[in-house]
Assembly symmetry: C2
Homo-oligomer: 235 residues x 2
């Protein structure tokens, strides 16, 4: 039975890394002795080792040890054997390229379908969707494919941001970008605001964190769903 | 001799489409009877025909006729025979996918190297750089490659936006994204603010439009160059 926490962001304004998620992390990974960390997204170009240290120092406060997947000679086996898995944010193109390069997508998908508890933040959340085609990230590297894990039957837009009514900038709003996405793709998109996460328990998908989320469907007007709403029927 | 205008945006806040560029368009395409428009980037999912009408209504004010490339049975020949070419903004992934699908990149590159006057705005400017890896757009479709025209020896970040010191949003700033780009790529990036354009005349590249631009190089601190600066040595 799938057991996923898919968070929009790792960090809230004015807080430390993962601070707001620590109570959830403690519950979610209860009984795990060591968490496998996937640092491939490398925010700001940070090294795998430094990123793993950052994750470890946060997880330590929840009484959990962390080991980076780059430390294993057989990363697929590390995924299969993990007590729990956390994929951090950064650049989704880089994350997906590395997952393909290490042939990890099939084993990660199977492992998470079988119930290994998983936390994703930002890019680590994007990859739970059907494709990475609704990431906000810059295409700094070329992945062999945009298809991701498909653990949920829709896409996520992490760090969802409402249009700023006072903006004079002419770059596209997030809503315009997702509208463009729906000219070429049919799956729904959940605009997940910072501080929100999706809790996935088997086929139950629930919005958590206190905020509403914005749902985009092809050829429909976008709408809001409230905190604690079920998204089981969104596909 | 190359003869390009590469604008950050088509439209300034509170103005009509291409309004601020009309005096430049008139000079740049002086002597042309018809401009070939490449509408592939389809902003907001608008159709090729509607986008071409929008471009035509702006160019009409500069006394120029416009025809969309989608109206030609042989688009490569349309590029070769064009008096002048304009590629509008929208989604860079879509634009690049369509350019590859129609096998237009080599012919467009050769035609523009040989001096056919060209205007790009936003996505149409991004493709003049070495790659599309510094676009801000959402990857709504998967192009076969991120390599673009390489008419200038660097990349452009269109709609360049300075970090907002009052923001509480945790999505990456533009500067952070470009820093990530430079972990994996060596070419410089010109952060081109809205209202700015690059004028390329042969090997002479000049910043125009009244604003400074921000230059990013791998392993260097970013710096500003003033309006009317030469970028001939940036590579």
């Amino acid at each position: 039975m799938k057991n996923l926490l898919l968070a929009s962001t790792s960090t809230l304004h004015g807080q430390k890394y993962l601070e707001y998620l620590l109570p959830e992390i403690e519950k979610h990974f209860n009984g795990c002795s060591e968490i496998l960390f996937i640092p491939y997204a490398r925010p700001g170009g940070i090294s795998h080792a430094d990123y793993t240290s950052l994750a470890a120092s946060a997880f330590e406060q929840a009484g959990l040890a962390v080991r980076g997947i780059h430390e294993f000679s057989d990363p697929a086996r590390a995924v299969k054997n993990a007590d729990g898995i956390f994929t951090g944010g950064g650049n989704t193109f880089l994350l997906v390229r590395e997952l393909y390069a290490n042939q990890l997508l099939p084993v990660l998908k199977e492992t998470l379908r079988n119930g290994t508890p998983y936390l994703g933040t930002s890019a680590g959340t994007n990859i739970a969707g059907l494709t990475m085609k609704t990431t906000n990230d810059m295409p700094i590297v070329y992945p062999p494919n945009f298809t991701t894990l498909g653990l949920i039957p829709f896409n996520i837009n992490a760090h969802y941001l409402d249009p700023d009514p006072n903006s004079t900038h002419k770059g596209e709003t997030r809503e315009t970008r997702i509208k463009e996405f729906h000219q070429f793709n049919t799956q729904p998109v959940v605009g997940l605001r910072e501080g929100s996460w999706l809790e996935v328990k088997g086929s139950e998908i629930t919005l958590k964190g206190g905020k509403s989320a914005r749902i985009f469907k092809a050829e429909k007007l976008p709408y809001e769903v409230e905190n604690e709403s079920s998204l089981n029927d969104l596909n």
